[in-house]
Symmetry: C2
Subunit: 253 residues, 2 copies
């Protein structure tokens, strides 16, 4: 990680500096929960043999933490958000979806990805074992879960496939909560004129990530947590003042 | 492949030389069915997303071939065997189990492996995506399927975990068909005195394949098809004479 990524990715710290209670913890088999014997892929495959899956285990763990957190007397249980970066972004969505009485805002810090669409475009690209949910493709995909969050306030910090974001936007509109969905794209793709592939059908037969990323408005080198979007958005949702001096990257760390 | 393995692994040829009709075909995404874009692991993960699995697809394909074969007028449909080597060994068992009216003998050319036992011993070793059957561990394991084949004649050509083979033997005994199960171990482990780990509990915490293989009587360097066991056994089951001149390795190929 370069210095900026190291700074920006400390997202619990940014929220805490903003005056929020933040609880940060590792994804299963990652960070301090890593094992020197079996890595993420192997743990995930073992889980699938056993009728479970990595995402399910991740959501289960995080749900227990959420329920504990909501009972603490220093926590305002009417103002709890889930916030996930990268591998944590799908669980953030799902924990919120399954616990609507406890979660009142969601930050999805990754791009919006329809896995089936991506797999078809990318010649059967299956992602990694820790993303695989057995049988999920027969029922729904990540954007369906995100659409189902409506009208809960939802932030995307890294844009993604515009056609998928529009489906989610339509769900929020149906619930009369269009303003509760906020999308920032990567800076490189920030405005419609910078997204020439938005209206184009995504071809099949792609073999490289880079080809797909053009259609998904992904600037992989800048994949990191984005406090500049997430902290002020969440503060506004929760009726708090923000002070960007507290968490904005100043190039000096 | 060394010359001997190249010779021995041509198993359809050995059966044909022995006077049997043999139909050989590739496993999905292997051999002539390979793709230069996505390999076995990726195809298998994609299948799991879609609610399928590699072994299931393999069994489905082979079942169609079996049904076609049984209808051919040059085939004696009362004497059809399934025979699988390595990746083909589990499908050989399962195709036979699901089609008892069509399959009257099974050759499992690999060692007998209980995947759960192996995973627990080997610190969560999950095997590869093309072996994973989602949720299978909650219900049964490979030796359960093999036991369920009783009383259909069944041959193991590469031994394996003796405790598991004894469970299968007990199933055959229950069906009054003890003589229908035949087990050859690898030559290195051919007789009980050569298998010092047979009676010992398998420890947990193993990290290498070699440690596990000691307990499973596996001589991995000699993993290949074994015509010297399979062909005469099947000929005997089907009431045919054998001529080992036709298929035995003579070191001259």
């Amino acid at each position: 990680w370069d210095p900026r990524k190291r700074h920006d990715n400390k997202f619990a710290l940014h929220y805490a500096r903003q005056g929020m209670i933040a609880l940060a913890f590792d994804n299963p088999a990652r960070g301090e929960a890593s094992s020197s014997i079996r890595g993420l892929s192997e743990v995930s495959l073992s889980a699938i043999w056993a009728g479970r899956n990595y995402l399910g285990i991740s959501v289960f763990q995080k749900t227990q933490v959420l329920k504990w957190l909501a009972r603490q007397d220093f926590v305002d249980s009417d103002r709890i958000a889930t916030c996930g970066h990268s591998l944590g972004s799908d669980p953030a969505d799902i924990v919120a979806f399954l616990n609507p009485e406890l979660v009142s805002a969601v930050i999805h810090n990754d791009f919006c990805c329809n896995w089936r669409e991506r797999s078809i475009a990318m010649s059967g690209y299956p992602s990694t074992p820790h993303h695989v949910v057995p049988g999920m493709f027969a029922w729904f995909d990540a954007p369906d879960i995100q659409a189902a969050l409506a009208p809960t306030p939802l932030l995307f910090t890294e844009g993604g496939r515009t056609n998928q974001l529009e489906r989610i936007r339509a769900a929020y509109a149906l619930k009369g909560a269009r303003e509760n969905l906020k999308v920032y794209y990567y800076e490189k793709y920030a405005t419609p004129d910078k997204r020439p592939f938005d209206g184009k059908p995504i071809p099949e037969g792609l073999t490289s990530w880079d080809e797909y990323f053009k259609y998904a408005n992904v600037d992989a080198a800048n994949h990191r947590f984005h406090p500049e979007h997430a902290v002020p958005w969440l503060a506004k949702v929760f009726g708090m003042k923000t002070n960007d001096e507290l968490w904005r990257w100043k190039g000096d760390e």
